[in-house]
């Protein structure tokens, strides 16, 4: 069984966010990458993009299908993991280490409503 880092928060759409002060790094969960299968493209926003919680911030494509990526928290994109452009398969190999975007939170309180690791584990089991 996959292990979900205890320090992350999770969404029902299968994204995670690792919060640190007013910053959050965002990726997709092990469950999500398993459902997608082999990832071949990750399309991410530009630095400076402003996201609302639940808004699409990009797309992820596997051989089989394309899925939207949804922002777990509101914020401004301050960094983008451009390495995923050339190595999208990293999302399959290391989903919880393959962050996609880093955001500066604009509404710190909203992360309280996200799932913790054990709640998320219950959701996908």
């Amino acid at each position: 069984m996959a292990s979900y880092p205890a320090g992350y928060k999770y969404t029902k759409d299968h994204e995670w966010v690792e919060l640190s002060g007013d910053r959050g790094k965002v990726g997709i969960t092990d469950y999500a990458q398993q459902q997608l299968g082999d990832v071949v493209y990750v399309e991410l926003p530009e630095v400076g993009a402003k996201l609302r919680q639940g808004q699409s911030f990009g797309t992820i494509e596997s051989v089989k299908a394309v899925s939207e990526l949804y922002a777990p928290v509101s914020g401004e994109v301050v960094d983008v993991n451009t390495a995923l452009k050339d190595k999208p398969e990293a999302v399959n190999a290391d989903p919880h280490g393959s962050w996609m975007i880093a955001v500066r939170l604009t509404n710190a309180g909203e992360s309280d409503a996200l799932l913790d690791a054990s709640q998320y584990q219950d959701l996908v089991k």
Binding site: Q34, G37, D38, V40, Y41, T59, E61, S62, V63, K64, V66, N92
Partner: protein, 371 residues
């Protein structure tokens, strides 16, 4: 009438094996089928470089027998079955009067007056009803839906022959492409056919359902040294697309004719008559206005089924199949385009979720196995 509730998914004789092996299962054409085992890319590459084993027992089998069986097959099947020797198979279409596809199929000549048709899983009842009705004028011939009598395994890839040969007395090296023989595999009565849906050398093996698991296990055991792995419908789809094999429901259906699908070679033009002949002869004389074309995406992105094709601002066609192919490592696909836009090298745009993306027509197949 639409059914109010969905029927339970049908299971192949290998369903328990797939589940025990950890395959990811999905509903497909009314069946509970493995979409992938170790991953589409790994399975695709295994078939291109070694071999993969597929359960395709969901496919349907319809037999036609009787003194006038040949005439019956000639009426409902577009290709010319009179060219088939006993022990030979051909690809063909089950066409409407308009020359469009009710289904596509393989026609096997089991005996001079006994044929086996292999049809798509989701169309078995529809195909059977159509065939049973349409062969009546042919005289002494009956059609039987024999689907439940067969399990069907496909061993595909350059190592297929070496993996299968130790399990059977049938001499495989001498079997030509699109020929078949009766014999046994792992001491199980089997019909072995040198056919497939991957663009690779390989065999399709018809066995009694109760023995399917035994044959499945024996092939994997024999293929252990060559690293032969089980493969699912996901890789089957990317493999067939690289080989430019049409998929009914995507690339061909009841709105597209055999000529528009660029499948003139499965039309028996010299036959007296068959369902769809008049429409196809007329279309051949007048020329088609649209035709299927293979393409590569030039920019980043995957052009998937249903995406629109544009020339300038005009919507001119639609993508029928498209993926990122694991072996060629390109986004490729098939689309119906105006006939004048189907020459290799012609460029057009695909609307990929609101973004116009350049694509170029290329010759099909995209992949051809080394001889």
């Amino acid at each position: 009438m639409e059914q109010a509730t969905e029927a339970p998914l049908k299971k192949t004789p290998l369903n328990a094996r797939h589940r025990a092996s950890g395959a990811k299962m999905v509903p497909f054409g009314g069946w509970d089928m493995p979409v992938e085992y170790s991953g589409i890319v790994a399975e695709h590459m295994a078939v291109r470089t070694r071999a993969g084993l597929f359960d395709v027992s969901h496919m349907g089998q319809i037999e036609i027998a009787g003194n006038d069986a040949l005439a019956a097959v000639q009426r409902i099947s577009s290709n010319d079955a009179s060219k088939l020797a006993v022990g030979q198979a051909q690809y063909s279409g089950l066409l409407t009067e308009q020359g469009t596809f009710i289904d596509d199929l393989l026609v096997y000549r089991l005996a001079p007056a006994h044929f086996l048709l292999v049809v798509n899983a989701s169309h078995i009842p529809k195909d059977y009803a159509w065939i049973a009705e349409q062969i009546k004028p042919a005289g002494d011939a009956v059609a039987v839906d024999a689907s439940s009598r067969y399990a069907l395994l496909a061993l595909q890839g350059p190592a297929a022959l070496d993996v299968l040969q130790p399990l059977t007395g049938v001499e495989l090296a001498g079997m030509k492409y699109y020929w078949f023989a009766n014999g046994e595999v792992a001491s199980v009565r089997a019909t072995i056919s040198r056919t497939g849906y991957t663009g690779e050398d390989g065999f399709e093996i018809f066995v009694p359902p109760q023995s399917a698991d035994r044959v499945w296990q024996a092939i994997l055991e024999s293929g252990k040294a060559a690293d032969v792995i089980p493969a699912g419908l996901g890789a089957r789809d990317t493999l067939r697309l690289e080989a430019a094999m049409r998929l009914h429901g995507n690339d061909i259906d009841e709105t597209t004719t055999a000529l528009e699908a660029d499948l003139s070679w499965i039309v028996g033009w010299k036959k007296d008559d068959f369902i769809g002949a008049a429409a196809l002869r007329e279309q051949k004389a007048n020329g088609v206005t649209r035709k299927i074309a293979g393409f590569e995406v030039l920019d980043r992105g995957i052009a998937r089924q249903g995406y629109d094709a544009y020339v300038g601002d005009a919507k001119v066609g639609v993508v029928t199949s498209g993926t990122q192919t694991p072996f060629l490592k390109k986004a490729i696909g098939m689309a119906y385009l105006p006939a004048e836009h189907t020459a290799a090298g012609t460029e057009f745009d695909v609307d990929i979720r609101g973004r116009r993306t350049r694509a170029r027509v290329v010759p099909m197949p995209f992949y051809k196995r080394p001889k």
